[in-house]
Symmetry: C2
Subunit: 398 residues, 2 copies
Amino acid sequence: MSQTKGALDGVVVLDLSRVLAGPYCSMILADMGAEVIKVEIPGRGDDTRGFPPFKEGKSGYFMNMNRNKKGITLNLKKGKDVFFELVKKADILIENYRPGTMEKLGFGYDVLKEINPKLVYGCISGFGHYGPYSKRPGYDIVGQAMSGIMSVTGWPDGEATRAGAPVSDTVAGISLAAGVLGALHHAQKTGEGQKVDIALVDSLVSVMQIINQIYLIGGRLPGRMGNQYESTAPYDTFPTADGKYVVIGIANDKFWKQLCEMMDREDLIDHPDYAKNGDRVKNRDIIKPIVVEWTKTQQSDELVNRLLEAGIPTAPIYDVKQVTEDPHIAGAREMFIDIEDPEVGPIKVTNTHIKMSETKQGFRFPAPMLGQHNQEIYGDFLGYTQEEIRKMQEDGII
Amino acid sequence: MSQTKGALDGVVVLDLSRVLAGPYCSMILADMGAEVIKVEIPGRGDDTRGFPPFKEGKSGYFMNMNRNKKGITLNLKKGKDVFFELVKKADILIENYRPGTMEKLGFGYDVLKEINPKLVYGCISGFGHYGPYSKRPGYDIVGQAMSGIMSVTGWPDGEATRAGAPVSDTVAGISLAAGVLGALHHAQKTGEGQKVDIALVDSLVSVMQIINQIYLIGGRLPGRMGNQYESTAPYDTFPTADGKYVVIGIANDKFWKQLCEMMDREDLIDHPDYAKNGDRVKNRDIIKPIVVEWTKTQQSDELVNRLLEAGIPTAPIYDVKQVTEDPHIAGAREMFIDIEDPEVGPIKVTNTHIKMSETKQGFRFPAPMLGQHNQEIYGDFLGYTQEEIRKMQEDGII
């Protein structure tokens, strides 16, 4: 990195969002160098300040998700004028209230665009800001259930299964980051801001793209198939001699030939039932036990290494501890970094995954204490006098 | 939408990517109005032209993923000079070759930035462009296995489980879209381009954020817990009288009170074992059968409606057919659209999930036939003469 500033240096993001999806979006923008001003309720703050895990009584959840953000307090009901001053100076606004909440506060996009026509207004909700389900409560599991992804995750004889990470929230958060940056480009070129509206459900419907097509174009309803894959075979998890599983992905006929050679099953290479991927997909239930018979005789680590040497796609199945200790992921890619918190010292958190060659990224400064940057933002940035700031505090506005 | 152009109108994206992760990224950019020039191998094209499902012999996979892109053919080994002409006029380049491939062709970022210093070079690979595993083959299942997400997806007594949609590929694709748009902002402001490097594994490590922290900060190794959730309870799937399951997410004490009232179990509202979320999380295995006893007496649709009327987060578990027919998702949110293909007529595909209020989005024109826009791009855009284009064809360059 040749620079000390991030790609989004100078971009002002007014962040009203709480908990996960919105703050994950603004974290991505902050990690790229945007000036994110996190607005919290006076005396209370983002609910995640009380979420586990804790280090010395302070929430790791909050410290992680809000690094690189400045924190101010503002009572949105009492401090309308102050809020409008912030909106005037913002390039992007992020919120993840239930649709209708901002309108009730008098802060709908139609109002805010009169105050700042260039404003990019980004929002995340369970079902989006229009449509019949718009006001339904939306949590990650609701997005997973209604997008169809749960219906295809899990085992043929088992229940529909939730992906074990909050994929609705995070995919929606990244998508809003892409959307507001697209809209920022347009606003800077034309002077026209706009509203970017992301729904948890829509986000996973988009992730389902390839699976949706099986039904939309092929007319077949995709179901749960464990760790197998619709398009290629064998492409699955396989048990090993040490009681673990490894992933092997035979994506083409060349890999199949190499695998057969490794298994000492050259007879299968040109076998009419297995030679072509299309045939292997049809006969996947016959192929699997053949491969399992071989993998069951192998130690996991050795098997992965031998397959990799042959150029065959494979991987061990890591638990979280293994991920955080891996020399590539944690080492070279620096996917975990120490944040120095002024109250609890260093804590390790997940780093940005958007690696940029020339601009600074990742950790700049720790998550704010509640209202930590009131002086800087209200005084230096907006120009309120000390007297005015004191009065706002007294009146419970900030 | 007040405009006929997209937010990224005028942004030129040179797209060398194939199959899924890269093309999903450039599809997002194209859906926002960017001028995406898809570069394919003469006489062969993107492998996905041969991927199912098919409509009248034409790949739905390809037609979906490549809508709104212009298509040219170019042999990258023979047509170096032509490629450099394209690079000179591009704002963004997208590629998802195995790391090292572009360098071998003489097209590494270090070379291309000399030709176009403002170029934003975006790439997706399994493990990223640096680090010890950089050259390993990376498929979606490899990203899922090594990020840890498979280790926390599935059931406590079962195998590590793959999420049923290609979440590595799609999260990486969206992340690259956000990354290159951040880098574009910087390039337009400063004149400095850069390389944005996204790995499938890193992308899902970022999605695991909240789960990673349980280990990184709390010191506990998260495991598989079916459809339950670490932070709140009851938050799970529940069986109903008609043999289906519904999702109920009791995220706070208010929802718990409402649920108890609906179940006619007012005795549990203030019960010391269940009154607070922290206690419910500890006693989730006792709570679940109590809720199941009640949901098993209810019809799914009625149950969801009654819970929603009470304001309690809930959802049916949709299969793909239900998603594509839902009045909110398919209706109001228009998550599926008809693309008019010149050869096969209308096909239905998944629409963009980034909903923008002022600029045009979604479908503009169908996926290109192989080399369909050679004349437009090589002739009109780059200024080659008819004679030169004919010669390039003869020489197998395009």
